[in-house]
Structure formats: C-alpha cells, structure tokens
C-alpha cells in the first residue's frame, strides 16, 4: 500500500509551474525526495499537508484526500519545515508541550511525550532554556521534536540537514534512519544532495522543475550513480578534458563532462587503474581523482558515448 499517492498533480503559480503532472507513490520506510532548489519539493509537501490547493490532478496521504481531508491528514502526519520557525522567547519544553496540545494530546500526555521526544532527538538540560540561545543543530532538533511529538504515522522532513556542519549532518541522518526503522514512522525527507540521502533512504524520488525524473530503490540508484570525478591539466595547453574523455569512452567507460571536470562511471575497482593509465599515456597532469559527491545534476549531464551529440539522462 502506498502512504502517499499523487496522480497528475499540477500546481501553477502566476509566474511558474511548480509541479507539472507529477505522479508518485511513496511507501513505508524512509523515502528521499531529491531535487535542486526550486524543483517543487516544498510545494509538494504543502499540498500533501492540505495547506495549498493544487491546480489539477489528485493526491492522497494515508488514503485521505488532500483537498477535502486536510485536517485529518495533519492529525496523523508530522511536518518539519525547511525554514526557521521557532519563537526565541520560550524554552524547547514549553514549545513542544504547547504544540503537542495543539495536536490534540491531553495536558499530561503532552508533557510526557514532549520529554520522551526531546530525549530521543538528543536535547538534554538545554531544553529548559529559551530557544533564542540555541545553535543551529539544536534548533533543527527542536523542529524535528515538534514533528514527532504527537506520534505521527508519517513525517515530512524538509531539508533537515540545512545549515548543519558535517558532524551535525551525520547525526541528523542517523536520527532520520532511526525514525524510519526503530520508531516505525514512515519518512519523506527532502534534500538537494542525492549523496546525502542514498545511505539514509530505502527509496529515492528525484524531481526536477516539478516533474518526476526518477523513482527507484536506493540500491539501484547508487549503482548507476557511482561516479568518479576527474580533473586533468594539459601542460601543452590543449583540450585535455575532451582528449581524456574520448580515450575513456573508447575503453568502453561511460564518461560525462561536467564543467571543467569529467564524471566517469565506476564499473569496478579497475576503473581507477584505467583512468590512471590513460592520464599517464596521454601525458596529462592529474589534478583530482575523487569519488563524486552525487548531486542532482549528475543524473542529467551529456554523454560522450553518443559521439559528440549531447543527450540527457544517461540511464
């Protein structure tokens, strides 16, 4: 059964079409929703919460219709917004207890759940201090806690790693993984970084300009997006990038130019050796050889194999 289902969902604003006939299905576990900024991720979440009416098409969350049953959806779903949304003048405990009550929990239950949830997200003694003095990491935890306090069946997390340092990012991703597994709450988490979500999510949906680009299990995804970033320099000043690109393509590797860099698809361990040997053979200077940090752009760059005729979507 899918927890979220959209059929031809379209949202047009006067200036821009945010969602363009989007049809997706989201099941249990952790689902990553990946797209560049402005791809329509936040708009989709607003529609799924029943806060923003769609232009056409339909969508349901937990088998409830988003247009007519928004209130019921919001009782069973949690939402962590992308932007800062915390008042500075109350403590985390006060805020979470209050919001739990607004979700319909009786006072005692609200207090008990708040203490539980704040402990789970890792806020200790500081939860009694006003939020105004919190670090970004702590604020993100408070935002996450308020999304979980009423024990939802599904949570929408909009860019939860935004503004976090690498350590905070890892902790947040681990926490999200736990929510999906230990807590048994389905998660739809958005990010503009594909690499970030692939180890957290069970499946990944990629959208671009409001359209579905790709939806699949994470395992499939990692395979095809295992990319090596190569940067070379020609000491004689020639076009080193394209020379190496063609040579690699002749060896049967999938190669894509990306700015001044090359993205080489990693087949297995030997790919590294092939690249190294070719660079040496061509007499180029190797500036960088790095496992690519997968970004959304990786999925639709041009392909050398097609003899200079660029076409999208290498898959």
């Amino acid at each position: 059964m899918s927890l979220i289902a959209t059929r031809g969902l379209t949202k047009s604003f006067p200036q821009v079409t945010a969602l363009d006939a989007l049809t997706i299905d989201v099941g249990a576990g952790v689902t990553g929703l990946v797209g560049a900024n402005g791809a329509g991720k936040s708009t989709l979440i607003k529609i799924l919460l029943g806060l923003l009416p769609s232009t056409s098409g339909s969508a349901s969350v937990l088998d409830l219709d988003v247009d007519r049953q928004g209130t019921q959806i919001r009782a069973r779903v949690g939402y962590m917004p992308e932007h800062d949304c915390l008042p500075p003048d109350v403590s985390a405990t006060e805020l979470i207890v209050h919001l739990a009550r607004i979700s319909g929990l009786p006072p005692d239950a609200a207090r008990e759940r708040s203490a539980d949830v704040l402990r789970h997200v890792g806020l200790a003694e500081e939860r009694y201090r006003p939020i105004g003095g919190y670090s970004t990491g702590m604020r993100q935890r408070v935002k996450l806690a308020q999304a979980l306090v009423h024990d939802p069946e599904l949570v929408f997390l909009d860019e939860p790693t935004n503004g976090l340092d690498p350590l905070g990012r890892d902790e947040m991703l681990t926490l999200i993984r736990r929510i999906g597994t230990e807590f048994g709450i389905a998660v739809l988490v958005t990010s503009h970084l594909l690499g970030e979500l692939e180890r957290t999510s069970d499946s990944i949906i990629v959208i671009d300009a409001g359209r579905l680009l790709r939806a699949s299990e994470t395992a499939e995804f990692t395979q095809t997006t295992g990319l090596l970033t190569v940067e070379v320099q020609d000491l004689d000043g020639g076009n080193s990038r394209d020379r190496l690109g063609r040579a690699l393509a002749e060896k049967g590797l999938r190669v894509m130019p990306s700015g001044g860099l090359l993205q080489v698809e990693i087949v297995d361990e030997s790919t590294y050796d092939v690249v190294r040997d070719l660079v040496a053979d061509l007499g180029l200077g190797l500036v960088r050889l790095q496992q690519a940090r997968h970004r959304i752009e990786d999925i639709f760059t041009v392909d050398y194999a097609a003899e200079g005729v660029p076409h999208g979507d290498p898959t």
Binding site: T71, A75, H120, H150
Partner: protein, 300 residues
C-alpha cells in the same frame, strides 16, 4: 527498626532505555485545541505563566487602570457621597491612553510574533484550521482587554455598594458600562490584530496602533469641537464615529441612556443604531481581512 536492603531488589532495579514509545491515548478535537490556544493567549496578555519580565508592563498598565477607581472608592467611602462620582460608562474614555498602550503592546506580542518567527507554520501543520487560530487569538486579546477595562468598573461598583448607593440603579449602570467595554474590547482587539497581522515588525506595529488610536481620537474630538461651535450638532454627533472610544460612548449614550463623554452624542436612537452598525462593521470587516491574510500565509 531499619529494614535491611534487599540485595536482590537492588540488583533488579536497573534503568532501561525503553526506546521509542507509541502513543495510543486520546486525541482531542478542535474544541480542545481552540481552548488551549485561547487560554494560553489570554494568560499571556498579562504575562501569566511566563518569565517576570513579560509581566512587568501589562501588570503596570492594569495597576494604572485600577488606581483612579481605587481612589474614587476610597473617597466615596470616607466622604459619604450619594452619587457616583465617575459614571461607569465614561471610565474607558478617560483612561483611553492606558488602554491604547495595552493594545499596542499586547496585540503585536500575540499576533505579529507568530508571523515574524513563522511559528504559524507549526500551528497550521496541525489539525487546526486557519480560522480557528485567528478566532482564538482575537478572542484571547479581547479577553485581556475586557479584564483591563472591566475590572475597574467592578471595583467602582463594589465601592458604590459599600457607601450605600442604590443597588438597583448601580447595577443597571454597571451593566451598561460592562456592555460598553465589551464592545470596545472586541473592536480594539480586531483593529489591533489587523494592524499586527499586516506587519511582522513588532516595533512598527506598536507605533502604528498607538498612532491610529490616539490620532483618531484627536481628529474626532477636533472635528466635534469645531462642528459644535458652528452649531452643526449632527456633524458633531457623527464625528464620534472616528474613534473606537467615542464610538462606544455614543452607543451607550444613544441606546443605553448613559452620560456622554463628548460635547455631542449621536443624534437620537437612529444615530445610536448607526453607531452600533459601524461597530459591528469594524469587527466583521477586521475578521474578513484577518482571515484573508492568514489564508494567504497558510499556503506559503
């Protein structure tokens, strides 16, 4: 006799990480949500349940509001006066500056804050409809104002009864006064909420509300004074519509037979009905504006 500790029990009591617990208790409906939001808002009007620094200003304003009533009661009891020194219906007009400051400080605290820090997003992501949120916030502010304006009247009433004034006529006058401050509280809450919802800057909202309330009264009083001089009694009467304070005063004078605070009240019962209609239009119009504004915010 001391009970020897049971070593077995001590060994058994260990702290377990019980992990995530599901909640399967009751989930209450919108009436409960409304009440939660309303009660907290009304308490916050006076800084109740908050740190001391949030109590200082509203409590000070309440004290200033009560002070004249307290003095009047003291004099009344000591100097045996057989008439109400200050009519209930005029108290709010006389103390309007204090009331205006209260609206200017508390309306933005209650309304602008959620918009400025986007806390509204967290409210609207819950099973709470936009309209319910708006009604609860305005009702909370109106309640705060009603306490501020109604409490001195009750104090005056207690003093009057203590000094032996006729309970019958005093009760009628008190009810007239309370009805007046009820209408006033509703109107001021609505106007304050609209101004606060249009700006997310607290300081700006404070200045705008104070200016609007003080200016409207000054302009109204000036027009009234000039028109009265010129013998244009109708114009002078209707000039009372310009300020919420004189508007309520007009309703009390024309429809409830209260003593006027202005040189000229509304002309007759018909004029009183016009005043009442305008008060109603202000409340309804403000609510329409507020709901429109918040529905737009909800989709963002």
């Amino acid at each position: 006799m001391a009970i020897p500790p049971d070593p077995a029990a001590a060994r058994r009591s260990v702290i377990h990480d019980i992990g995530y617990r599901k909640y399967d208790g009751p989930r209450l409906g919108e009436a409960y949500t409304w009440r939660t939001l309303y009660e907290l808002g009304a308490r916050h009007c006076f800084g109740l349940g908050r740190a001391a620094r949030y109590k200082v200003l509203p409590m000070m304003l309440l004290a200033i509001m009560l002070l004249p009533a307290l003095i009047i009661v003291g004099v009344q009891v000591m100097v045996d006066i057989d008439e109400q020194v200050l009519p209930y219906s005029r108290y709010a007009v006389i103390m309007q500056l204090v009331i205006s400051v209260f609206v200017a400080v508390q309306a933005p605290a209650l309304i602008s804050r959620d918009l400025r820090y986007r806390v509204i997003t967290l409210y609207l992501a819950r099973p709470l409809r936009v309209d319910t949120y708006v009604y609860a916030r305005v009702a909370a502010l109106a309640t705060g104002l009603l306490v501020l304006t109604g409490l001195p009247l009750l104090l005056l009433y207690a003093g009057s009864l203590l000094s032996g004034l006729s309970p019958g006529s005093e009760t009628t006058d008190l009810l007239t006064g309370l009805l007046g401050v009820l209408i006033l509280s509703l109107m001021l809450a609505c106007v304050g909420a609209v101004v606060s919802a249009m700006t997310t800057r607290r300081g700006f909202a404070i200045a705008a509300i104070i200016t609007a309330l003080v200016m409207s009264y000054t302009v109204g009083a000036t027009v009234q004074g000039i028109a009265d001089e010129q013998g244009e009694t109708d114009v002078a009467g209707y000039a009372g519509l310009l300020s919420p304070f004189t508007l309520v005063d007009g309703i009390q004078v024309a429809l409830l037979d209260a003593e006027a605070s202005t040189p000229e009240g509304p002309p007759g019962v018909a004029g009183g009905l016009v005043f009442l209609a305008v008060a109603l239009a202000v409340v309804v119009g403000s609510m329409v504006l507020l709901l429109w504004r918040y529905r737009k915010v909800a989709g963002r």
